[in-house]
Symmetry: C2
Subunit: 178 residues, 2 copies
Amino acid sequence: MDKLTLKKSDLKNRIRDIHDFPKQGIIFKDITTLLKDKAALKKSVDLLANKFKKEDIEFVVGVEARGFIFGAVLAYKLGAGFIPIRKKGKLPAKTQSVTYELEYGTDVLEIHEDALHEGSRVLIVDDLLATGGTIKAVADLVKAQKAIIAGVAFLVELKFLKGIQKLKDLPVYSVLKY
Amino acid sequence: MDKLTLKKSDLKNRIRDIHDFPKQGIIFKDITTLLKDKAALKKSVDLLANKFKKEDIEFVVGVEARGFIFGAVLAYKLGAGFIPIRKKGKLPAKTQSVTYELEYGTDVLEIHEDALHEGSRVLIVDDLLATGGTIKAVADLVKAQKAIIAGVAFLVELKFLKGIQKLKDLPVYSVLKY
């Protein structure tokens, strides 16, 4: 193994724990330290892209804001188009929306109504799978446009939050698991 | 010229005008139609990357949220790290912040205080240069960490808003101008 080549197991060292963010008692997985490390960024993207390169992905869908990071890179790398899903009122043309549950209250995500089409092969990308509520909502938007969810990709999965249970029947891949 | 290869002049056809967004009287340049077109996305990224590939970029800095899209792809493509600049309260570790003027009131952007270091060669990326206020604020954050601004890259520049005047002395490149 070339010493300059990162291994997958090196990637966890590039993620730092931030205690009590966004609130008391939470240990937040901060991936900005991985993103700023060029070798770790490259390795992360390449692992994600290799996993889906045979899936004939037509569009990568990424969720505002952190989902845009790996989403856009994967679209470029896989030779696909990129579709942003945004919070209410941010997309300029006609949209379809979904309301989903947060810990307290609800939130709304939107997709342009002409973003996907029937039978499009779609890869949904976000940086981190926690409770799965956001990505479940994204999957509902994609399905409403009759597109095919060919994959759901995360850099990090927090297994103890069991978000995967909300995404059953979907082909989920996470590079790193905690 | 290969018919499958897009020319730079084809890219403007992939951007659509949305009238009266975000408010009455504004014609919004909607780049989501370019992003979803795989050939246009690739061509846009390649033009931006070619412009800066000899600049020995160590970090690409992108601004929440749309700046993450081209910012992250360029970081990957140039073999650099990616540094997100975010709105107040979104970054988990210790930050430095800048307050800047909006049309009505002010807003705050933050960078992690350990993001850059003295002498880092930085490329600042956003999708669109309008009045230049946001990117001027980003440049101030980068300079405060004593990094070198080796380039400022946009997909689109709205020349009639004269944002370039706020960025004088900086090496600005825009793929498309209106």
